[in-house]
């Protein structure tokens, strides 16, 4: 199945990653990708490559921290986790997303 390019998804990638790590605590990039796909019942497919610049950027901004570790299969991978600042950022982005969704919904219904 060809992956669906979803422009809006790119903009909210940060929010999705933050939420994922908020519940799953510690994950590597591949696991984050598959998790988002699973939980969204395959409605959202992340352009896999674009995840990594986003992850590193979020780390630069202090919302994530990373460390090298071993998976269950004993492979080396980089694991990410939320920082307290990241948690605050998540709350902010959730709020603005909800506001956006409500606003768009109203326009679609009443306009």
């Amino acid at each position: 199945m060809a992956p669906q390019k979803n422009d809006i998804l790119q903009g909210t990638l940060g929010l999705l990653v933050l939420r994922t790590l908020a519940t799953q605590k510690r994950m590597h990039g591949y696991a984050i990708t598959t998790h988002i796909q699973q939980v969204s019942a395959d409605m959202l497919r992340v352009e896999e490559g674009s995840l990594y610049p986003a992850l590193h950027r979020m780390e630069q901004q202090g919302w994530l921290r990373s460390e090298w570790g071993l998976t269950e299969k004993n492979r080396e991978a980089r694991f990410y986790a939320l920082t307290p600042a990241g948690r605050r950022q998540l709350a902010q982005e959730e709020e603005s997303w909800t506001r956006l969704a409500r606003g768009v919904g109203r326009v679609l219904r009443y306009a």
Partner: protein
């Protein structure tokens, strides 16, 4: 990601890339595994995984960009580029780095001295609470306090943690084979607590040791411990010999503990209940106090004044009319060096500024040369910031290298400074530490900014420059020439000042002193104030010594004097002549000398008789006056036989010629010579030797050790050396100014060279053209030589005008030379023109050697 992390990523791009590679590869492989499990073939799974991932290298690059902070990466890139382009012009870079090294190094050295002397606290804990307590007698000033009064202050105050005091004296250390002189401090109780010093070995004094007739004890300094006992660990079981008594060592004090008298090596306890300890008029001690935390100086002053008022009521004759003063101890120890140190700092910063303008000019020339490259950069889309950054990076690299080499220079010049100014207090605490390094770093950054800002502005402005066209006419570098001209003018001014000072010193050294200081050895013999009890014995001892010395074959004649002839320091006194009253009292220097003084110093006797050998200390003493005394107050009269009054009663018995015993720079003053060989227990011995005075010193020491085995001979040096030392301050000033002037001239010369060199390099095509159409090489040389000399000449005029304006400043320090001395001025002008010509010659010759065909074919 932390800053450290980012910095590390910037400096090791390879490592970052590998990490990102690993991370992305892991993702692709996991995807491939999953697809393979779903049933695809491994190679096909891999291919599809990669396709699903997207453009791997692109994502890798984007990830890398997210990792590196853009500006940090740009910075490192700029620095690398700057280093590479500077390496291409080695000569230029080396010259600049050296110049900066000298400037920054000198600046750092002076700053470290400033830091050690003025800015850093004294080496005692909480040193801001330490104060000096002088005793002020009826507004006449004063300093020393009686030990008994100090004890009362300590008992009755409420604002001090402790008050103590000390007095120092030179004393004979007879522990070794030969008696040596050692400075000993006698300290009141709680001395160590007030200072906050703990002995590194042993303990302080006990109360018993501070009592009359109590056990003897001594504390020694760390340096003495090293010198006398070789730092032996069992020193606490040893003793020292002071005169004929022995003192067991009870502790060793650390080397960091220094009083204002820096060479104290022994400390003994003051015996508080001894006669001299209870005497309230014997003002011998320097009192120190430590304030309680939070107590201000004003409160403490009020408290002490109250205490002293009470004492004044209790002991009206000795304590009435005295007020205690309070001065922070640091001010006392640092004294009046402040002004000259700050001035030195200002001067050396000015020098650095000159060096910076020089380098700014050089960088400007360089930027002009790179105009083509800059235009191409702009055309390719570089931002203004990027181009400016490149110039600043070059300046930064140069400044950094200069600072690094400059630190070496600073370490070297610290030793030089110590040699030039040995009297500066606390100078040996000057060390290159973190503060000094920080200062150097800040200086380097400032230098980079100052040097780089002009070329950076120039480059930023010249965005659209038509550099495609072949240009044979290049712009004049007026800004650079202005900068060079200013430097030359400044160096002319400095040279004039230095030259005048040098001539003034020279004239001073040739002044006829009226006495003959050559071949005279001066020294002192240790004695103690205790000898004042029995003066007859002292006089006998000194006369005996004099006779023994004169009897030596190496010695012509010897005498004693209280003040060294030729060394300034006398304070004139008021006298009257009994038989010839005048309305105003007469003012004259009073010098106390022994018999045969005039013979020893070769001062000619004009009338009457010289001093006789006296045996008693009471009775009418004899005196001589000099010609100035007679001429000023009693012209034409014969004063022999008359009596002087004012201090002591003397009968005038002779008249001597004028001398400059207050030093060559003071005119002859009226002098009264009182004849008394032992006015203090330790006068100066003056010995006229037949040969060189230095070689006679061994004989003198031997004679004295035979005669007085318990006394040490010290301060031994030829009289001419003492006189030289007294001029050390003005010599230091002259040396420093000369150093600055020479440095400024070298910098200016370098500036002329560099500016002319770049002018030539810019005009190569023009020169080639001229040569091709028939100009002579000598005329090319002449042209450039003339421009260099022209600037030098103009600078001379401006510099001379500036020094004329500043002549008032210098006039006070000159002797026998006018500020407009033609010899000095013409010498300076000549030197500057020669330097200008030499600096211009090299580029001018290089211009003449340009190959026209090669240059004209260049693009």
């Amino acid at each position: 990601m932390s800053w450290m992390h980012r910095l590390r990523n910037a400096l090791r791009p390879g490592r970052t890339e590998r990490d990102i590679d690993r991370e992305l590869t892991f993702h692709v492989e996991e995807r491939a595994d999953e697809l393979a499990r779903a049933g695809l073939e491994p190679t096909e799974a891999h291919r599809q995984a990669r396709r699903q991932f997207g453009n791997v290298p692109l994502q890798a690059e984007r990830t890398r960009d997210a990792d590196l902070t853009l500006w940090l990466d740009a910075l490192v890139r700029h620095l690398r580029l700057a280093v590479r382009s500077l390496r291409r012009t080695r000569g230029f870079s080396a010259a600049v780095v050296l110049t900066l090294a000298l400037g920054i190094g000198a600046n750092t050295a002076i700053f470290s001295a400033l830091d050690a002397v003025l800015l850093r606290p004294l080496p005692f804990p909480d040193d801001d609470r330490l104060v000096h307590l002088p005793q002020i007698i009826d507004r006449l000033g004063g300093n020393l306090v009686a030990a008994a009064r100090v004890a009362d202050w300590e008992d009755l105050n409420t604002t001090f943690e402790g008050i103590s005091s000390y007095n120092t004296e030179g004393i004979s250390d007879t522990t070794g084979d030969v008696p040596e002189r050692v400075r000993r401090a006698t300290v009141m109780p709680r001395f160590l607590e007030v200072f906050g010093v703990t002995p590194i070995l042993g303990r302080g004094f006990t109360e018993a040791e501070h009592t009359f007739g109590g056990p003897a004890a001594i504390l020694i300094s760390e340096s003495y411990w090293r010198r006398r006992f070789g730092s032996a660990p069992d020193v606490l079981e040893r003793s020292v010999w002071m005169g004929e008594r022995t003192y067991p060592v009870v502790g060793v004090l650390p080397a960091s503990f220094r009083l204002a008298e820096r060479d104290v090596e022994w400390w003994v306890p003051q015996q508080v209940d001894a006669p001299w300890g209870l005497n309230r008029t014997y003002n011998s001690d320097t009192a120190i106090g430590r304030l309680r935390p939070g107590v201000t100086i004003e409160r403490a002053r009020a408290d002490l004044t109250r205490v002293q008022a009470r004492l004044g009521e209790q002991y009206p004759e000795t304590d009435g009319g005295l007020t205690p003063g309070i001065v922070p101890l640091k001010d006392v120890m640092v004294g009046d060096v402040r002004g000259s140190l700050w001035m030195l700092f200002g001067a050396v910063t000015l020098l650095l500024l000159i060096a910076c303008t020089n380098i700014a000019a050089l960088l400007l020339s360089r930027a002009t040369r790179q105009g083509h490259e800059i235009a191409v950069r702009y055309a390719l889309g570089a931002s203004r910031a990027a181009v400016t950054g490149h110039v600043l990076a070059e300046a930064g690299v140069l400044a950094g290298a200069g600072a690094a080499v400059g630190l070496l220079v600073a370490v070297g010049s610290a030793t030089l400074l110590r040699r030039l100014a040995p009297t500066l207090p606390r100078l040996d605490e000057a060390v290159i530490d973190v503060r000094v390094l920080l200062y150097t770093a800040v200086t380097a950054v400032a230098v980079a900014l100052v040097c780089g800002v002009l070329p950076a502005i120039r480059n930023a402005r010249g965005a659209i420059v038509a550099h495609g066209a072949r240009r044979t006419v290049t712009p004049r570098q007026s800004l650079q020439w202005w900068l060079v001209g200013v430097q030359m003018a400044l160096s002319v001014t400095l040279l004039v000042g230095a030259g005048l000072l040098v001539r003034s010193l020279d004239t001073l050294s040739r002044v006829d002193l009226g006495f003959d200081p050559d071949r005279v050895l001066a020294f002192r013999v240790s004695a103690s104030f205790g000898e004042e009890q029995d003066y007859n014995r002292t006089v006998e001892r000194i006369n005996r010594t004099l006779d023994a010395l004169t009897a030596l074959p190496e010695v012509e004649v010897s005498a004693t004097a209280v003040q060294l002839p030729g060394v300034p320091g006398q304070v004139p006194r008021e006298l009257t002549v009994v038989e010839a009253a005048t309305e105003t009292p007469l003012v004259a220097d009073v010098r106390v000398v022994s018999y045969r003084y005039f013979e020893t110093m070769r001062i000619s006797l004009e009338a009457g008789e010289p001093c006789r050998r006296t045996l008693t200390s009471v009775g009418v003493t004899e005196a001589l006056v000099n010609r100035s005394f007679v001429d000023r107050y009693f012209p034409g009269r014969d004063l022999i036989g008359l009596h002087l009054a004012g201090g002591s009663d003397d009968r005038i018995m002779g008249l001597v010629a004028d001398t400059r015993e207050q030093g060559a720079s003071s005119p002859p003053a009226p002098i009264v010579y009182q004849c008394f060989s032992a006015a203090t227990p330790f006068p100066w011995f003056l010995v006229r030797t037949r040969g060189e005075p230095a070689s006679a010193s061994a004989v003198v020491r031997r004679t004295l050790s035979d005669l007085e085995p318990l006394r040490a001979v010290y301060d031994v040096a030829p009289l001419s050396q003492w006189i030289d030392d007294s001029r050390a301050q003005s010599r230091l000033r002259t040396n420093v100014l000369t150093l600055f002037a020479v440095a400024a001239l070298s910098l200016a010369g370098l500036g002329v060279y560099a500016t002319l060199a770049y002018a030539v390099s810019l005009r190569r095509r023009e020169i080639g053209l001229r040569l091709a159409i028939g100009a002579r090489r000598s005329s090319i040389v002449g042209r450039y030589l003339r421009s260099g000399l022209g600037v030098a000449g103009l600078a001379c005029i401006v510099g001379l005008a500036l020094s004329a304006a500043l002549s008032g400043l210098l006039a006070g320090m000159l002797y026998g030379v006018s500020p407009y001395d033609p010899l000095t001025l013409s010498a300076v002008v000549g030197l500057v023109l020669v330097v200008g010509a030499a600096a211009s010659l090299v580029p001018a010759t290089r211009a003449a050697l340009v190959q026209p065909m090669r240059v004209l074919r260049e693009e």
